[in-house]
């Protein structure tokens, strides 16, 4: 109840700021419509928007799951196998430079026009922060713990599994927060690959038809979804890493105790 009320208040203030900007700047409504018009469209077209949101939400969730899995796996591989590091790391980095229009025909060729080509594109965008952050965490393990494990005759796998990975979980959490933040746009970009459903498609279509109100209504829903997703992931991560100090836990900048 409390966080809900506070969330609604935040939303209200932000929407008011938006209305204020539109009013004061006198910006043309076909560049940025005011919240009232957008909300009207949102209400009028909510069935359409929700339907497309369903598609996009599925892509987001699949992309996030796959991206996390692939990100973790590639970080582990790059970290533990010098050969993979040498040849794989450049590929991972280079993969981030691939624009969607270059990849789109290939993705469609490999995966068809179904949901998987979009999920693949979203995954490509999502996995990188996970890989990088987790890899960084794996690199930074306290050498004392590594030494301890070595005196205990830990095998390579045990060392990674029981020391390096848990020690890197806070860093991984950091990567997951970034991933959760970019997952929605990842799904939208995925829909550029070629799609006939999803908020990205809806926005693209509305934009081409100059239905700017509809585009912003869809965008509003997407942004709201993004914020909720991020907050959910943040909450989950806090619960999952209870040994981790966190100055937000007390909801104050500095801990009072």
């Amino acid at each position: 109840m409390k966080p809900l009320a506070s969330g609604l208040l935040t939303l209200a203030v932000l929407v008011a700021a938006w209305a204020l900007y539109v009013d004061l700047s006198g910006i043309e409504p076909f560049l940025l419509p005011g919240p009232l018009r957008v909300m009207e469209t949102l209400v009028a077209r909510h069935a359409l928007i929700l339907e497309h949101l369903g598609t996009t939400a599925l892509e987001i969730v699949l992309g996030l799951l796959l991206g996390t899995a692939i990100g973790c796996a590639s970080a582990l591989l790059v970290h533990s196998m010098p050969l993979v590091r040498r040849f794989g790391l450049p590929v991972l980095i280079a993969s981030q430079a691939l624009p969607v229009f270059a990849l789109a025909p290939l993705l469609v060729l490999w995966l068809g026009y179904g949901i998987w080509s979009k999920v693949a594109m979203a995954t490509l965008i999502i996995f990188f922060p996970v890989t990088t952050a987790f890899l960084d965490g794996l690199r930074r393990t306290d050498p004392g713990w590594i030494e301890l494990a070595r005196t205990m005759d830990a095998g390579r796998l045990a060392l990674i599994w029981r020391i390096r990975i848990p020690a890197a979980l806070p860093a991984l959490g950091s990567g997951l927060r970034v991933a959760a933040g970019v997952a929605p746009i990842g799904a939208v970009v995925g829909e550029w690959v070629g799609s006939s459903a999803g908020l990205g498609y809806l926005m693209l279509h509305a934009n081409a038809r100059m239905q700017i109100d509809l585009m912003f209504a869809a965008l509003f829903v997407l942004a709201l979804f993004a914020v909720l997703l991020w907050l959910a992931v943040d909450r989950l991560l806090r619960l999952a890493l209870p040994w981790q100090p966190d100055s937000f836990a007390s909801d104050q900048g500095e801990p009072k105790r």
């Binding site: 076909f30 693209l204 038809r209 100059m210």
Partner: protein, 290 residues
């Protein structure tokens, strides 16, 4: 006097008159200093002109109807390409010989906003409806998706480009021209300006320069091509050469001239397809500069 002209898309032979006019000094002669800016998204230029961020935008007639319907303060002031370029394209050696063969097949499109309207008009002539086909948005890969068999046909292909592209890679296509299949003829490429500024004398000068360029192109096609390449050296390839030749006859010889009936008819067509709320008279969309 400085002017900014927003192209509809990347520089290509469709923009021939603009660059030839520039090369011939036709703008300079009339006291204009014109800068061309190519956007990445064809939807942006009309918005930016409507927001007075540029003087002139290159756009498409069907888009203009939609834009005016949504309240964008725009008017067509001139025509660049006076016929439709859009076509429904299939593989020449493919199974689709007539539009009727599309039943149960996949048609790719790249979101432009009115493909479905054209398509449904074309299908209607062959007794099909949109429910008889599967529409797939293929966005960036119009001809690749067709060539690699991902779709059986694409709508939104430009007859002067995509057909040549396919020919060059050895997979020639067959085009069904939209105006021959039940869509009213329209001007593919037009010049639009903010409706409050249509009296600006620079526009007249600009169109005069374009007219001069088109005349020159018709008279001296080889020299004109050389001038165009001089300004866009990276376009010197087989595809653009062919496209240039195919586009040449389609440029409006009288860029200022306005065919009111075209606008009336197309507005009615779009209204009938449910894409615009009201079919306004031509004056609401276009002006003829004098």
């Amino acid at each position: 006097q400085k002017m900014t002209v927003l192209l509809d898309w990347f520089v290509n032979p469709d923009h021939g008159p603009l660059y030839v006019a520039q090369a011939l000094g036709e703008f300079e002669k009339r006291g204009l200093e014109v800068e061309f800016i190519a956007p990445a998204d064809p939807n942006d230029p009309p918005k930016l002109v409507a927001a007075k961020q540029a003087e002139i935008a290159i756009s498409y007639q069907p888009q203009l109807h939609l834009q005016v319907d949504r309240g964008l303060p725009l008017r067509r002031i001139g025509t660049l390409v006076a016929t439709p370029l859009n076509a429904l394209v299939v593989l020449a050696d493919g199974p689709v010989e007539s539009i009727a063969d599309l039943k149960g097949r996949k048609v790719g499109f790249s979101v432009g906003g009115f493909e479905d309207a054209m398509l449904s008009a074309m299908l209607a002539r062959h007794g099909l409806t949109m429910d008889d086909i599967e529409l797939v948005n293929v966005n960036f890969s119009l001809s690749p998706s067709l060539i690699s068999g991902q779709v059986d046909a694409v709508i939104g292909a430009f007859r002067n480009f995509e057909l040549n592209q396919m020919d060059i890679v050895g997979r020639p296509g067959r085009a069904f021209y939209v105006e021959a299949e039940g869509v009213p003829a329209y001007d593919e490429l037009i010049l639009v300006a903010h409706k409050d500024t249509v009296d600006d004398p620079r526009y007249l000068a600009f169109l005069d320069a374009i007219e001069a360029a088109v005349q020159y192109m018709v008279n001296e096609p080889e020299k004109a091509w050389a001038l165009f390449l001089q300004q866009n050296p990276d376009l010197d390839d087989e595809l653009n050469r062919r496209a240039w030749a195919d586009t040449l006859p389609r440029f409006a010889l009288r860029p200022r001239a306005l065919d009111r009936r075209r606008y009336d008819e197309f507005a009615k067509f779009l209204k009938h397809q449910g894409l615009i709320g009201e079919a306004e008279p031509a004056e609401a969309y276009a002006v003829e500069l004098r």
